[in-house]
C-alpha cells in the first residue's frame, strides 16, 4: 500500500508537467516600466497561443505586475526584469496594472 502510494505520487509528479509542453517556442513581447507607466500600454497578441511577456523595470523602485484577468502577480525589483508565461488566451481584453503605482501603471493585452 505504502509503496503503491509513493509510486503513484512519483508518477504524477513526473508526468504532469510533460502533458502540455508547447510544440514551438512562444512569441515574446516586451513591456517596459518607466516613470511608473507601462510601455507599450496596449499589446495585441494572437488568441489561442502561448505567449511570453518580458517585463523590464527601468525604475529604481520595485513594481508588481498584477492582473486579475490573467490571474497573475509578479514582483519586479527596480532595475531588473521578469518573464511571465501566459497559457493560450481566449479572444478578449485582459487588463493589467502595477500594484504599487496603480494610478499610472495601467495596461491591457488584446488577444485576437
Amino acid at each position: 500500500m505504502f509503496r503503491r502510494i509513493l509510486f503513484s505520487c512519483a508518477l504524477l509528479v513526473c508526468l504532469a508537467p510533460l502533458s502540455a509542453k508547447a510544440a514551438e517556442e512562444p512569441k515574446s513581447y516586451t513591456i517596459t516600466i518607466k516613470d511608473h507607466r507601462f510601455t507599450p500600454s496596449e499589446i495585441k497578441v494572437p488568441a489561442g497561443q502561448k505567449i511570453k511577456l518580458l517585463v523590464k523595470n527601468d525604475d529604481a523602485t520595485a513594481e508588481e505586475f498584477e492582473s486579475h484577468d490573467l490571474h497573475r502577480e509578479k514582483v519586479i525589483p527596480g532595475g531588473s526584469d521578469a518573464v511571465i508565461t501566459l497559457r493560450p488566451l481566449d479572444k478578449g481584453t485582459y487588463k493589467f496594472f502595477g500594484e504599487f503605482h496603480e494610478e499610472t501603471a495601467q495596461g491591457k493585452i488584446i488577444a485576437e
Partner: protein
C-alpha cells in the same frame, strides 16, 4: 456491538488526532514570489453531536518570506486542543515551499512542500511532512492539490507514515472573492491500511480573496480564507469551521 464500534471509532480518532491535532487545514500554492513577506493568522474549530469529535480547536500564527523566485520559507507556531482537552501550545514548525516549474509554462504548475514540525508538548513526537504541490489554471478555474506524506521522528515517534491530501477547486471570479470547494483527508497509518470509515475525510465550500491596501495609502494586501468542511466519514467531525487572515507585503 454499538459500544464496540464506538470504542473502535474512538481509537481511530485518537490515532488520527495523535499527530498535529486540529492543525488548521489549508492548501499550499506552488507559486513563490521573491521578496514577498506574509503574516498569517489561522483558526479552526469542530462541531459534532459526538463529544469525541466536538470542540477541537486550532490556532496558527505564521511568518513567511520569499527568499528567491523558487524558495519560500515560513515559521509557524501552533496552539490546539483535542475535544475535551485543554487548549495549549502544540508545536512550532519550519515550512518550505519550492517552485519547481515556471508558472504557466506547462498545463500543471509544480512545487514541492517540506515541513519539519517540533512537538512542544511533553512526550510529543516531531514530524516531517512533504510532498508535491500541483496546480492547474484553465480559464477562470483553478485546481490545487497537496498530496502529502508525514512521518513521525525523534525520541517519542510511534506512528507509522501517514498519507494525507488537500484539494481546492475554485472559480477565480474577483480579487476580493473566489468561491470554491475544498477536500481534505487523512488516511491514517499507511502500514495499517485503515478502513474508509476509520479515515478522516471532509469537504465543503470555501471563499478566498484579497484587497489591496494601496488605495488607503498602506503597503501590501489583506487576504482571507473562510469555509466550513463537512465530515463524510465516521471518523471526521460533522463540521469544521476554518478561517485565515493574511497580510502580504513586499521587501524591495
Amino acid at each position: 456491538m454499538i459500544r464496540l464500534l464506538n470504542a473502535r471509532s474512538a481509537l481511530a480518532l485518537a490515532l488520527l488526532f495523535s499527530g498535529s491535532a486540529f492543525a488548521v487545514p489549508s492548501i499550499k500554492s506552488p507559486i513563490v514570489t521573491k521578496g514577498e513577506a506574509e503574516i498569517e493568522l489561522g483558526a479552526d474549530g469542530t462541531s459534532d453531536a459526538d463529544k469525541a469529535k466536538d470542540g477541537g480547536h486550532g490556532l496558527t500564527l505564521e511568518f513567511g518570506y520569499g527568499v528567491t523566485d523558487h524558495w519560500f520559507t515560513e515559521f509557524e507556531t501552533e496552539w490546539s486542543n483535542d475535544p475535551g482537552e485543554r487548549f495549549r501550545h502544540e508545536a512550532v514548525a519550519w515550512e518550505n515551499r519550492f517552485q519547481i516549474l515556471p508558472q504557466g509554462e506547462y498545463l500543471v504548475d509544480l512545487g514541492f512542500f517540506a515541513e519539519y514540525e517540533f512537538g512542544t508538548r511533553p512526550h510529543s513526537a516531531d514530524e516531517i511532512k512533504f510532498g508535491p504541490i500541483l496546480q492547474s489554471t484553465i480559464g477562470n478555474f483553478r485546481v490545487t492539490a497537496n498530496p502529502f506524506m508525514s512521518v513521525e521522528v525523534g525520541a517519542h515517534s510511534e506512528a507509522a507514515p501517514e498519507f494525507s491530501y488537500g484539494v481546492r477547486a475554485e472559480y477565480l471570479w474577483k480579487q476580493a472573492f473566489n468561491p470554491g470547494v475544498e477536500f481534505y483527508g487523512k488516511m491514517g497509518e499507511i502500514a495499517d491500511g485503515s478502513r474508509l470509515s476509520e479515515q478522516d475525510h471532509s469537504l465543503g465550500p470555501v471563499a478566498t480573496g484579497s484587497v489591496s491596501l494601496h488605495s488607503l495609502g498602506l503597503p501590501g494586501k489583506l487576504g482571507y480564507e473562510a469555509g466550513v468542511l463537512f465530515g463524510v466519514t465516521d471518523a471526521a467531525p460533522a463540521r469544521t469551521f476554518k478561517g485565515k487572515l493574511e497580510y502580504e507585503f513586499t521587501f524591495n
